[in-house]
Symmetry: C2
Subunit: 511 residues, 2 copies
């Protein structure tokens, strides 16, 4: 047993976490659990089934598809196995799924619809709001090349957001197509493997449209841009004509107006895109796919207030090959600089027809999306979704321990409560009655059970209803009055303890 008051040690470790990692307490765990269950129900309704892969994979099996890699270890936590093979912590849930499907290809039903939730890890430069461990909740359809699969994913994204408590009108699922982007690149002479680097620079520039506006993106597509701090970012060096063509493309925005003939709307909307991709076959195919997705969504009743084409959606990960999606929350929040901005993206994904094919002789089409669990959780707190604001779990009944020699008899009281299915515990610390009552308060105990020597002699216990007691305390003026009346505290024979505690719990049910 420990002896408090022992000599102070000369040297102690500092208890702390590396940056970008956090602990979670019971309220957040319970609320997150409810949110994950709602997402799971939504995915199951769409016919998806669960799968789980480990946190560690061969580095080469995961591949390197992360955006914005400017550090030597490229965003991934890696270490060597005893046979010198490189292993990595997964950085998303898509690359491991591709490995899983390839490994179990013949045993899986195809198309294979699966979902999985889990932590992923990024070896990021630590900074405020950048986490190195965060949770994703993914759903994917592997083995379906049809754009109907992409449309399903977009509809499911919309349904899932509504199910967790985001109101219609507070979100939009934006859809674009990498093929259109590729076509636009081809049309300005950036096709082929040799231009892969410049294409990436162009994509990153488009990705910043929200933040920098058209003028900022214009600089990044051309010679480059100097930001407020004086840092210079080199641009893609495109000629003016090409810059304007790209800007024309990203400016096609489908205004979220309702009514009218929606199919006709999309017809005219995409009519303007052909010019951007010029003669590129890939580009034209991309526009046709995007148009087909919009038609399917409209037919299923998902109008462009919920799902709409948006050419500014790029998605950072390199493995996308077709439609890409992003679910954005549109309600306003105040950012770190005090500006009012949209909440922004909480989920995204796209088609990655090449990823499973890395492991197999034949290509395997696949599409899916990923919910950023922590981002969505923050959003639900902002809109006070009942899913995350639900009442905290009630604490246990605390049996005070007034006489430590009699611990066995206190434990017997606790055992009786537990056998009746009532959450209960004896106080096991070394402090006196006052501290024990304070402990019961901090634990959120609905009531305490008290047995001093008098009660023990008479075979009774005192039950003190802490919830009722707190209410009564507010109404009582003086300490003397309190002591005289002792509201919400009563004496019962031990044999009746369980029944009377049950009554107290029932009285406060839902409180």
């Amino acid at each position: 047993m420990s002896k408090p008051g022992k000599a102070v040690k000369a040297h102690t470790l500092k208890p702390r976490l590396p940056r970008g990692l956090v602990d979670r307490g019971p309220a957040e765990i319970a609320a997150t659990h409810r949110m994950l269950e709602a997402i799971r129900e939504s995915f199951e309704l769409y016919g998806f089934e669960a799968v789980e892969t480990p946190f560690i994979e061969y580095t080469e099996a995961l591949g390197k598809f992360l955006p914005d890699l400017d550090r030597p270890n490229e965003g991934v936590f890696s270490f060597q196995d005893e046979d010198e093979a490189w292993l990595s912590l997964r950085y998303d849930l898509t690359a491991p799924l591709a490995r899983y499907v390839a490994e179990h290809f013949d045993a899986l039903p195809k198309p294979y619809r699966s979902y999985r939730a889990g932590y992923v890890f990024r070896n990021e430069k630590p900074g405020p709001g950048r986490f190195r461990q965060f949770m994703q909740f993914d759903a994917d359809i592997v083995g379906a090349g049809s754009v109907a699969a992409d449309a399903e994913i977009c509809m499911m994204a919309a349904d899932t957001l509504e199910r967790v408590g985001i109101a219609r009108g507070d979100y939009v699922v934006k859809v674009n197509n990498r093929k259109v982007l590729d076509g636009a690149m081809e049309a300005i002479g950036l096709g082929g493997d040799a231009e892969a680097g410049r294409r990436l620079t162009v994509l990153r520039a488009i990705d910043k449209l929200d933040r920098l506006g058209a003028d900022g993106v214009r600089l990044l597509l051309g010679a480059g841009r100097r930001d407020e701090s004086g840092d210079f970012t080199r641009g893609a060096g495109l000629p003016d004509e090409a810059v304007e063509r790209i800007l024309r493309y990203v400016s096609f925005q489908a205004a979220p107006t309702d009514g009218g003939d929606r199919l006709a709307f999309w017809e005219s909307f995409f009519g303007g895109w052909g010019d951007v991709v010029g003669g590129s076959e890939t580009g034209r195919q991309g526009i046709a796919e995007l148009h087909a997705i919009m038609r399917l969504c409209e037919a299923a009743g998902y109008g462009h207030d919920r799902i709409r084409a948006d050419p500014s959606v790029v998605r950072g990960l390199e493995y996308y090959t077709g439609p890409v999606y992003e679910a954005e929350l549109t309600f306003p929040v105040t950012n770190e600089e005090g500006q009012t901005v949209r909440f922004g993206s909480v989920a995204g994904g796209g088609r990655y027809d090449g990823l499973v094919g890395r492991f197999r002789a034949e290509p395997v089409p696949a599409t899916g999306f990923s919910v950023g669990v922590s981002r969505l959780f923050s959003a639900l707190q902002l809109v006070s979704s009942p899913i995350v604001t639900g009442s905290a779990a009630r604490g246990p009944v605390v049996v005070l321990v007034l006489d430590r020699e009699e611990i066995a008899s206190y434990q017997a009281l606790v055992a009786a409560l537990r056998q009746a299915g009532i959450r209960a515990e004896p106080y096991l610390g070394a402090s006196g009655m006052k501290a024990q009552m304070k402990y019961a308060d901090r634990r959120g105990a609905p009531c305490v059970v008290i047995q001093g020597s008098d009660e023990r002699a008479s075979g009774t216990v005192q039950i003190k209803d802490l919830i009722e007691g707190a209410r009564a305390a507010d109404a009582i003026a003086s300490n003397a009055e309190w002591k005289a009346t002792r509201p919400a505290q009563f004496s019962v024979p031990v044999a009746e303890m369980v029944a009377r505690v049950r009554e107290v719990l029932a009285r406060h049910d839902g409180a």
Copy 2:
């Protein structure tokens, strides 16, 4: 879109996992989830609350307490941060809890009862049945120095096993005390820091009693032992008298007989132990603590058929300072060599009064235990616990897609089902009707919805009950008869589809 039939690639990656890591499918995930929920309910009944810590910690915060370290990286996956600090994947859930409690000490109620489930990682030599990622489910009481806390943990271990489906009599919670072991060492002259290495050798020898018997342990305590393969393990080199004293100690076994005066039984049982620890004060204190735990358990109705003192329990982790426990399943299984053995340990733990104190000026008493989730899961499968054998989830209703041009109208049928809360999906692959029916079977679909051009023209769908159909198929002799009767398939107007599918689902509820 992908083009199946493309030229075979010259080189492909092999899809595989590093050894000691596994994937899990939907049935195992659902069954494990049910088991974890049952454990959580048990822990909550005892007043414990949830906490979650990240997978990565500073290496020095975790410390190095793993048993049997004979590899250079000492059992832990580690990597360097960008500021060169060493980080590690957690190897258990106790060391991170100690860091958490130390970091949030003033904000936590004390005693602090917490539980947490999660994966831990060991950089083990891979081998059959050795996992490098496995789940633990822990419960700990921090801030309670009293043996009543240890007794609570042992009782909760027993209750938890019964709650998940292990019958009384099929398990036993064995308790020992490191202080008794330390006392026994002192008594044979192995006290003090200089003898730490030899003490470890002695502990490991005792730990092998189950496997090697008294004769094997005798050799390991003395000069050493040569096993069947010819490998020689050096012994602790104790003199004969010391060897016999240790063997006398580990041979004190409390036979699990019932009836009689149990408190008197323990009185006489521990009476024989004093000789082993000789004059060691620590040893005598350890015996007194163990005796107190047994009295508390007996008083709460947990007899020595469920919880009993056992001197052969050692526990591998180095941080234990007092009582140690091990929950063992006693029913027979056949091991790899075809021998009948007990199933063995599924949970264990003990008191670790020094672990939180590494971070603080004052010592902080703590005790807890850890359930090996995978081990327990295997055990539940062996005893066919209803918790893991529960029926698999039913698959979705599959809407066949016979005419891919009409995908929007199939998707509308699916949307109607989903809006009614019925799990449903359109078939999104490229295959024909026969393959689609096979797909529905593999997914465990209760029924399929079929709409060809005739049905579309007449505003109807065919509903085919696959469960009833399979039953009927067993009863029908010829293919011709089948085609004539088409059992379990019927035509309904589209407007009635949802109601009729619901009838099919209700008919097979619980099937």
